[in-house]
Symmetry: C2
Subunit: 310 residues, 2 copies
Amino acid sequence: MFTSSDNNKALFLGIDGGGSKCKAIVMNEKNEVLGTGIAGPGNPLHGFEQATTSIVASAKLALTDAGLTNVSLNELVAGVGLAGVNLPVQFEKMQAWQHPFKQMFLAHDLLIACLGAHHNNNGAVIISGTGSCGFSCIDEQEVLIGGHGFPQGDKGSGAWFGLQATKQVLLSLDGIVAPSSMNDILLKQLDCTNTTSIVEAIAGKKATFYAQLANLVFDAAEQGDLVALDIVTEGAEYINNLARTLLIKQPARISMLGGLTPRLKSWLNEDIQAQLSEPLSPPEVGSVLYARSQLAKQKTKQKTKQEQSA
Amino acid sequence: MFTSSDNNKALFLGIDGGGSKCKAIVMNEKNEVLGTGIAGPGNPLHGFEQATTSIVASAKLALTDAGLTNVSLNELVAGVGLAGVNLPVQFEKMQAWQHPFKQMFLAHDLLIACLGAHHNNNGAVIISGTGSCGFSCIDEQEVLIGGHGFPQGDKGSGAWFGLQATKQVLLSLDGIVAPSSMNDILLKQLDCTNTTSIVEAIAGKKATFYAQLANLVFDAAEQGDLVALDIVTEGAEYINNLARTLLIKQPARISMLGGLTPRLKSWLNEDIQAQLSEPLSPPEVGSVLYARSQLAKQKTKQKTKQEQSA
């Protein structure tokens, strides 16, 4: 059994903190998963206190899950991947955190997703969940495409598909465009009887609400509904273009991630589908890999310094 | 001069209460405007207290403007047109108001806009300002098209044009679509230098923010920018369809209202433009006409009752 007294073997913590939850993983030096934990929101944009509390809570749960109740947080080398820290002000705030770990290496969520997917510092990811974006990291050169937020960006995401469907249903109920099989399905799903009640039901709703409507668009498109087919074609074409733009830089691998992947992937162009590789590991494993690579760099630097001063 | 002792001549108050301001007008029996006043928001959706305070304040300002400082509010027959009271719950709340007027006749903002534009209970209006919608009232049969709110509806409105431009600029800066002359203009207008700073500047922004960007789309389209031309063509085509749908019911007149009218009208199909009539009066005059018609109906009913009981 792995214990805190086993000094030759380091323990690593991997964190994937997003807007709805924070996932933690404890791994050993052989990259074996020893335990996992999940806590509340981990995106510091939604509050520094909430994020740091969630990180610590999920880490403790992961240690308990691993049976490592005798190990304390200050024995863990932590890779912490968080949504929101692509913004410099959030990065600095989190970096200044008086964290409880032995060491902390901070990265944004896209980088750890990419490292997790490819186990390698040369790859690209297309993400379509509630939002959408493309990201590549090749020899530490990062490229971000999209991810502009809802409703101004995030084309081809769950929220975008749901919003497009809602727009078309409203236009159709107004008699401006032809009817779609989605009209009745949306009315039923929102427990509404007419246009006015839909308008009341959706007023002020956010991306997560619309993302829950994405499946009905794909269902209708697969049944041959022309309005739904137009929406799915337009969304898929955006993701094709996102992939093509990422592929210009020739990443070693490219993967598609996010909750909409199972529905959307088969609608992409065949040449794009053919180039997609299955992700090797989830983002929280990417966080551990990031911590390990940063640790190795630190050691190389220290060694070079010692040799120079010798 | 018109005074409160002149009992044969009634005084009318017309109110047009919207989300940003409340306009009041005082008119005599000859439909002559005696004075006007403007106060704060009058849409009860943003608060009952605020709306009633604004109505009273604007009415007092209109009396002062008319030099009728000796006339009190309880001598005025008020037509009160308000945004938001198309929703039954808001209508009932306002209808239950212990108002200070001699009588109050309540109507929603689209009806008074239509009555003001046509001086007649048979007409239609297309509205494009921050939002958009179509409305007709023919022999008391009302039809509402659009007006579903932002971002799910309000196509062809100022907010819609601004959002479409922002989307295209972001896609273009990402290299997904071709560059547009709007890219530099939007960056300058938002005081931004790159995609990241635009994304930060627009995060969570509402319809009024995007409506302020509408002019740059029309400017660019008039200079021949292809991306802007596509947006303007799509928005105008929606307004064409809105007009065509309203014209099916054969209203006696149709007008276009709202802040975007001067920019948008010339982009509509010529057959639609040819059918548009200039609005005769603003909505607050429509409120007075509504009050007068309701008053006349009341008197006819009372007369019939008296004759029946005689």
